[in-house]
């Protein structure tokens, strides 16, 4: 009996060693994936980035030189349009879910829909906008691309808004109401300011998410070689540019794809990092 116990404890020990080794290996794989992607972007992309790359239009097919300035500008335009659609609607839905929704059928439907639509593939939204905007107007356009990104932003924005509003303690809502403030006033002047940092963070995360979307843009913004001239014409965007260059046959394009990807990834990373720092100092100051 005693010897049996001893052997089982020894095999337990061995299993532990093997098991923990596996977890370590898995973690190294996860981190390795991150570092190898970042390393490739930096090694292959840094050479592509210079002043011309940021300020010039794309060069003629297959030729060296040229830049991605129209894509950067287009990205800014598309993200701006998407925020015009997505932020008010998303925040509105978030306010509804946190502050107003009761146990009615309507609120239950709204809640399930929002949480379901976070998971709907973005290409489906692209198909939707293609049919309601691109096909009727007979042109791909910046507005269509922005609308698609905005729709994708809505459920993300709604859920983060709901979450941060729920973190605001109910007691301060009660305090406002007990002073005779109407609900809208408590919302606008107490709850939203208290949750401001969180809502802004949620907004930036949503923007970061849609700024990296490509699939819906293939069906809506299409891409373009030139500076944008109209909101109702096809427009280029940085991920569309990366897609095109990655798939092209030229080494120059590949290098520029890495360069553009490097800019995109670091743009998103630095943006979120700065944001995290500023909101943290803000909430500390409060």
């Amino acid at each position: 009996m005693a010897s049996k116990l001893r052997t089982s404890s020894r095999s337990q020990k061995w299993r532990g060693v093997v098991g923990f080794t596996f977890t370590g290996v898995a973690t190294l794989i996860s981190l390795g994936a991150l570092f190898s992607i970042l390393a490739y972007l930096i090694i292959h992309g840094i050479g592509a980035i210079d002043w011309n790359f940021l300020t010039k239009e794309p060069a003629a097919v297959g030729e060296a030189g040229g830049g991605i300035a129209p894509s950067l500008l287009g990205t800014a335009i598309l993200v701006t349009i998407s925020m015009i659609f997505g932020v008010p609607l998303g925040v509105g839905v978030g306010i509804y879910l946190s502050e107003i929704a009761g146990e009615t059928h309507f609120s239950r439907v709204a809640r399930v829909s929002i949480n379901t639509f976070i998971g709907v593939p973005s290409i489906i939204v692209g198909v939707f906008v293609y049919f309601i905007l691109v096909k009727p107007t007979k042109t791909f356009s910046a507005v269509a691309g922005g609308l698609a990104l905005g729709i994708i932003m809505i459920p993300i924005m709604a859920r983060t808004t709901e979450d941060v509003l729920r973190l605001v303690p109910n007691s301060i809502r009660e305090a406002g109401l007990a002073l005779g403030a109407p609900r809208w006033h408590v919302m606008l002047h107490i709850v939203l300011p208290a949750a401001r940092a969180g809502v802004i963070t949620g907004g930036i995360l949503a923007v970061a998410r849609v700024a990296g979307e490509t699939a819906p843009l293939i069906l809506t913004a299409l891409g373009n070689e030139y500076y944008p001239t109209s909101l109702f014409k096809p427009i280029d965007e940085i991920t569309l540019r990366i897609l095109k260059y990655a798939r092209g046959p030229y080494d120059v394009w590949h290098q520029q794809a890495y360069g553009a990807a490097l800019i995109l990834v670091f743009g998103i990373a630095i943006g979120s990092l700065l944001l995290r720092l500023t909101t943290r100092t803000q909430s500390a100051a409060r």
């Binding site: 379901t116 973005s122 309601i132 709604a158 809208w184 490509t214 890495y258 990834v265």
Partner: protein, 325 residues
């Protein structure tokens, strides 16, 4: 005053409306509620547009579209089975890789690493979620696919190929396998973060009870912590599966493209999402377009089902553990 009391003594139900009679509040409620209606209308609109767009193909092929192969834009014969199989193959393959690695990583991050390393490592893995799909696609297409071609695919073909026909393919690089691997990397942050949250919620008392019985640390982790966090981990996996089914660009860039059923894991093919992305701007006829939308409708229905499932699993958990997705 006593008489004034008398007539208000009659019992009177309080109506909610009176408490909200403030005009500002009426406007506030109206605005917010109509925003919700607009958003729900958009969501319903997506479904309506998909059904209308898919209608011509549905009339022609019916539900048989789902179980038929053959994709011939010239003779207008379409069947989505290869893409459905491709979607399941890629998603399940990626889930197996990412599920295993992700769960082990989550265990490592919560139970193995010293406390001062847990935060930074988690943060780094979360960084993976910030990388856009197209960048994964770029890396998959230009780095991973050639690498797999030279190493894993070659090895599989030579060593497993003769015995298992599923591995007996030509190593092209791009193809199902590359799509599976790159998709697995994309799913890692989601699985690690959510599984970690579930593991963190395992009460210390329960683990201590395990140590008290003389169990080694690994046994406590594997036989107590992981089973205890099981529901949260399942929720994480279902959410990740939803992501995997719908991922488009990274898969479209690495899967190679093809309209036939996969015979080996090295073949080139399509998933439902990637066939739309790659073929949409190439369509030559309305029927072809409609067939693609039909694919979109199938994808939509599948992901909605998976996500509703995930929602209810996660919500049930939040009732129990305060688990948050």
């Amino acid at each position: 005053m006593a008489t004034a009391t008398a007539d208000v003594l009659t019992s009177r139900p309080q109506n909610e409306a009176r408490s909200r009679s403030n005009r500002g509040d009426q406007i506030y409620l109206a605005v917010v509620t109509s925003i919700v209606w607009v958003v729900l209308a958009i969501f319903a609109g997506i479904f309506v547009v998909l059904v209308t767009g898919a209608w011509p193909a549905f009339k022609r092929f019916g539900l048989g579209f789902i179980v038929h192969t053959g994709w011939d834009p010239v003779h207008l014969v379409f069947g989505a089975l290869p893409f459905i199989v491709g979607t399941v193959l890629v998603a399940v393959g990626a889930m197996i890789l990412a599920g295993g690695v992700g769960l082990l990583t989550a265990v490592c991050v919560t139970e193995v690493l010293p406390r001062w390393l847990q935060g930074p490592v988690t943060w780094l893995i979360e960084m993976l979620a910030f990388i856009p799909s197209v960048v994964y696609g770029l890396f998959g297409l230009l780095v991973l696919a050639p690498l797999l071609q030279r190493t894993v695919e070659m090895w599989l073909m030579i060593h497993l190929g003769p015995r298992i026909s599923f591995f007996n393919g030509a190593p092209y690089g791009v193809g199902y396998l590359s799509a599976i691997v790159i998709l697995a990397v994309m799913l890692l942050p989601l699985i690690v973060t959510l599984s970690r949250e579930a593991l963190i919620l395992v009460p210390r008392e329960i683990k201590e009870a395990g140590y008290g019985l003389g169990l080694e640390r690994w046994s406590v982790v594997w036989h107590i912590s992981v089973p205890f966090a099981r529901n949260g981990i399942i929720g994480a996996f279902v959410l990740a599966l939803g992501r995997a089914l719908g991922e488009t660009i990274a898969v479209a860039m690495t899967i190679g493209g093809g309209f036939e059923l996969p015979k080996t894991i090295m073949d080139q093919g399509y998933t439902l999402a990637s066939v739309i992305a790659n073929e949409f701007n190439e369509v030559s006829s309305n029927m072809y377009l409609s067939a693609l939308i039909y694919c979109g409708l199938i994808l939509f229905v599948i992901t909605v089902i998976v996500n509703i499932l995930a929602y209810f699993i996660v919500r049930r958990l939040s009732g129990i553990h305060g688990f948050k997705a």
